[in-house]
């Protein structure tokens, strides 16, 4: 059979449009008469809104509409359903959106935001997730600072018996790892264009990475059935997980419906970096039981994710972290606890790997630490523990098409590592001895 794609160099279908400058990103869609948006954001990381007066803002020449939470048909949204489109009584992070304005031009919109009178009673915030977990810590939200997985404060993975495993170990290797927060810094800022059509439909040009999820959210927020909202997406100027949350579509939609005019909201780079979702930081504690000959027989991990003020994708990110933190190694006894902890930061969310990247970072640092403790070549340690065909993961999945050993053999060649004959002879299909 002739293969047209596999093994062939295939050009990007959109490559020539990219180099011609013809690719039309959302901000490149220009509709005459489009209004611009600016938002009033919380100046404090935690506080109670005492009063908000937007009457002066409404009178600024060029201002077409001002909205507060009172104008939003359904003010709650997000992956956890716990975010506010526009803040009501409380703000939980600096930059949380409180009111928005649509105006004929940016100057008018900025002046209107400037004229909004906001009175906030600042409250004590908490920024460190380890502090936020302590009893008596300032509460980010009234229900507490830890996301509840049903009636459990953490996601648990239990495989075998980790305490029995530690008894079989010759040495115990412990490690604490911190992975800092990161911003995607995708090249295209968050932007949305909402255009009311004569047919009664609303067309939204979106940068979404999760368009059909976001379509349902937007419909719910604005109170329209899905048959009345058309989202046009697919051309994304970089996302890396930043665009799995709705940042601008819902606001552009609300203001377009209120004004009957096309509305575009493009976040500034400053807003994007300070207030949009990001990869929250991680604190990870490992305790591994290892035999003298380099077999991992038990792994215990406690991971804490700084989730910021709202749930967003953090609970899912912690799930995936827990599922995979035991690494690509066969460990017969595993116990993992993953905590999703709220702090007074912007909501964290997905970024390239949903919690797996920090797990791999910490897990591989730990492998090097174990190799050092044993006086063993770190390659040897990894080969010894690598999954074989048919072995079971800590989440009780039996693996097929396993190729880690073969991948490491190929990698060794690429980086100039001379493997000893017994590692060269190893294969994923060989059954593990003992």
């Amino acid at each position: 059979m002739a293969l047209n794609v596999v093994g062939q160099r295939v050009k990007r279908y959109d490559g020539l449009a990219h180099v011609a400058g013809e690719t039309r990103f959302v901000d490149d869609v220009i509709v005459p008469g489009t209004l611009v948006v600016k938002g009033l954001r919380s100046p404090v990381p935690k506080g109670k809104i005492k009063s908000l007066d937007v009457s002066a803002a409404e009178k600024v020449p060029g201002v077409v509409a001002v909205m507060t939470h009172k104008d939003v048909p359904n003010n709650r949204y997000g992956w956890g359903g716990d975010q506010y489109v526009l803040a009501e009584d409380h703000v939980r992070y600096r930059g949380e959106l409180i009111a928005v304005v649509a105006a004929e031009n940016e100057d008018a919109a900025l002046e209107a935001v400037d004229k909004m009178k906001l009175e906030i009673e600042e409250q004590e915030p908490v920024f460190d997730p380890l502090e936020a977990m302590k009893p008596g810590a300032p509460k980010v939200r009234p229900e507490g600072n830890i996301f509840m997985y049903g009636d459990s404060p953490c996601r648990k993975i239990i495989f075998g018996d980790v305490n029995e495993g530690f008894k079989k170990a010759d040495i115990i290797v412990e490690g604490k790892y911190h992975h800092q927060g990161l911003k995607h810094a995708q090249m295209e800022p968050h932007v949305s264009l909402a255009v009311p059509e004569a047919t009664g439909r609303l067309t939204i040009y979106t940068v979404s990475q999760a368009m059909y999820f976001h379509l349902t959210w937007v419909c719910n927020i604005v109170g329209l059935p899905m048959s009345k909202v058309r989202m046009i997406g697919g051309t994304v100027g970089g996302g890396f997980g930043a665009k799995n949350d709705v940042h601008a579509d819902h606001i552009a939609a609300l203001l377009a419906l209120k004004t009957g005019r096309p509305v575009k909201w493009r976040w500034t780079r400053e807003e994007d970096l300070l207030f949009s979702t990001f990869r929250g930081s991680w604190d990870m504690e490992f305790k591994d039981g290892v035999t003298k000959d380099g077999r991992l027989v038990a792994r215990q991990v406690k991971s804490i994710r700084d989730s910021g003020a709202y749930t967003s994708l953090n609970a899912y990110v912690v799930d995936k972290h827990c599922f995979l933190v035991a690494g690509p190694y066969f460990i017969p006894n595993v116990y993992v606890e993953g905590y999703c902890v709220y702090t007074n930061k912007p909501p964290a969310s997905s970024m390239r790997g949903f919690g797996i990247t920090p797990a791999t970072y910490a897990g591989e640092m730990q492998m090097n630490k174990i190799a050092e403790a044993l006086g063993m070549d770190p390659w040897e340690l990894r080969f010894k523990n690598a999954f074989r065909e048919g072995e079971m993961t800590a989440t009780q999945r039996v693996l097929d098409s396993v190729a880690l050993i073969e991948t490491m053999q190929a990698l060794a060649g690429l980086v100039g590592k001379e493997l000893p004959p017994h590692l060269k002879a190893m294969a994923s299909t060989q059954k593990r001895e003992g």
């Binding site: 050009k11 990219h18 180099v19 011609a20 090249m187 994304v236 970089g238």
Partner: protein, 154 residues
């Protein structure tokens, strides 16, 4: 308001601007030329890079009135389908564009380099791209493409 006269991609324009209007705003909002992108509006990312009288500038921090009487070249004027510039073809050939958002600016920075230095070293290419960010490629393919285009020109 002030009257600004400029040439963009060989065509003459006359537009009304404020004292604070940027070249990027003129190109995108007044002329509908959207190849140059709004990435940061602080001159840091390079997505708005264009040539003014052959010199590379960040259009987002270039005051529009400073280009009065000058010639601006954007990606739209670099080459069109059927008559692409070697850089454009090399970017396509070498997978130098992924999401494509930085590509128009990258191409203009590369054009400015090759106009001045037709046979750059890899390090000189990297230096020339130091004002242009890409978050998809890791830059290797972009440098490969520019090196290949420099070869073609020879």
């Amino acid at each position: 308001m002030y009257t600004l006269e400029l040439k963009v991609n060989g065509r003459a324009y006359k537009v009304e601007v404020k004292a604070t209007t940027t070249l990027l705003q003129v190109l995108r909002e007044k002329l509908g030329i959207t190849g140059p992108k709004v990435g940061c509006e602080t001159g840091d990312c390079g997505a708005c890079s264009v040539l003014v009288n052959g010199k590379l500038v960040k259009a987002c921090i270039t005051n529009a009135l400073t280009v009065h009487g000058k010639e601006v070249l954007t990606v739209e004027g670099l080459g069109r389908p059927g008559a692409f510039h070697p850089l454009q073809l090399a970017f396509h050939e070498h997978y130098a564009a992924q999401c494509g958002f930085c590509t128009p600016g990258m191409l203009m920075a590369a054009k400015a380099l090759l106009d001045e230095n037709p046979k750059p070293t890899r390090d000189e290419v990297k230096e020339a791209l130091s004002g242009n960010l890409c978050r998809c490629t890791g830059y290797v393919k972009i440098v490969d493409a520019i090196m290949a285009a420099a070869g073609e020109k020879a």
